[in-house]
Symmetry: C2
Subunit: 243 residues, 2 copies
């Protein structure tokens, strides 16, 4: 992991861009940290440049609760090499949605499964390096989408102790079987009228998670309309489980 | 409204029993109130004596947030005169549940609709007297079940500004039409494995509420297993809407 730039935000949060094996990432650490901070891995749908304002907003909010946050670019997004099969699947998805047709399982599988297979080892490698920094302690949470990335990480990565999952993307049926094997505390955010999400599938997924402690918070509005109070509730979930 | 007893709880909350037209009730006010407190009407399934520990717990938690709480006995419960038709309906409901049969709509209608018709005017009369007390101000929230009582109150009682509804009882289909007319902010609690609740009906009901701001918080466990953090979240909902 090599830091490439840093800036101090007006609330004191230190924002540092880094690169790790050619993958760009960002680390935010609280300005007032006295001890090593617990870490939140901040998931997103890909495209760090476009997502940066929202990710920075989430990170600054988490920093108020004493958490560091880090994210990396997803395979095929931003400046990373294109993944033609994924781009075809994404085009097929858009076409189905715009035509008002049901989204075929094969499209979802082609879009999401290779992404999960490629992204999850990268997040785990990033976690290795992040936890080696003196200013980062544990425990570790995952927050955000792509929800299937969060599911896989929750299953395979024992250093992740709790997760806030955004039910805002299509989930391959095969991921439902992985979801049964998730046992860490979960806090699932669902935008009730999310145009990029199948509400019933999100409820079915919530039902199958194996976690003894799981909470679903559903709010009104579309994909980007998560209300402020929902962010507050997610931060309090991490307060309970990462401190 | 006539107070019949009072006691000071160890956290300073003043607990006063009252009677109003022969209906017993309880009022809890914060120990440290300097200004008239906003009021939460604390709904319950009937049977104040048995419910008192849980209601007092909710009231003490609300008092930490500066709220007064009040409740009254439901028609046919506690020491109030029996309602034979309702008791027959309740027996039919238990029989259906214990036999693993679907609960007929006629049973739910017979159980709930007369209760709503009788209880809501009583809650409104209690509200008249409660708001006349110098230590009670506004605004007013409703919290709890019977959810159909909360729906009706939200529709007909303009002094109620926000409601936390417990999806823990059967809801007559006709109440879904009333639910469409609810416009106040809502916070709906759903116990995912509630043995006294039809989960899909609860989700359908959440969907039809007309409120622009509505949030569903679903947690694991049965009817009485609402976790502490869910109570905290409900209190913060009232913080946002009653202050």
């Amino acid at each position: 992991m090599r830091f490439t730039s840093e800036s101090r935000l007006d609330d004191g949060v230190l924002e540092r861009d880094f690169t790790l094996g050619g993958i760009p990432g960002v680390l935010w650490t609280p300005g007032s940290a006295s001890a090593p901070a617990p870490l939140i891995l901040a998931g997103h749908p890909g495209g760090l440049d476009g997502m940066r304002p929202r990710l920075a907003g989430r990170a600054r909010h988490s920093a108020e609760h004493g958490f560091a946050s880090a994210t990396i670019e997803l395979p095929g997004s931003g400046d990373r090499p294109r993944r033609p099969a994924a781009e075809q699947a994404r085009a097929d998805l858009r076409r189905a949605i715009e035509a008002g047709e049901p989204v075929g399982e094969d499209i979802v599988d082609r879009l999401v499964l290779p992404l999960v297979d490629e992204a999850v080892p990268e997040w785990r490698a990033a976690l290795d390096d992040l936890l080696a920094l003196p200013e980062i302690g544990g425990p570790v949470g995952y927050s955000g989408g792509v929800i299937s990335v969060g599911i896989r990480l929750a299953v395979v990565e024992p250093r992740i102790s709790a997760a806030v999952l955004f039910a805002g993307s299509f989930v391959p049926r095969v991921m439902f079987e992985e979801a049964r094997r998730v046992t860490i505390p979960l806090h699932v955010l669902l935008q009730w009228d999310d145009e990029w999400n199948d509400r019933q599938a999100a409820l079915d997924l919530f039902d199958v998670f194996g976690s003894r402690e799981k909470t679903l918070h559903a709010n009104m509005g579309g994909h980007t309309g998560v209300p402020q109070h929902a962010g507050d509730a997610a931060a309090r979930f991490f307060d309970r489980h990462l401190k």
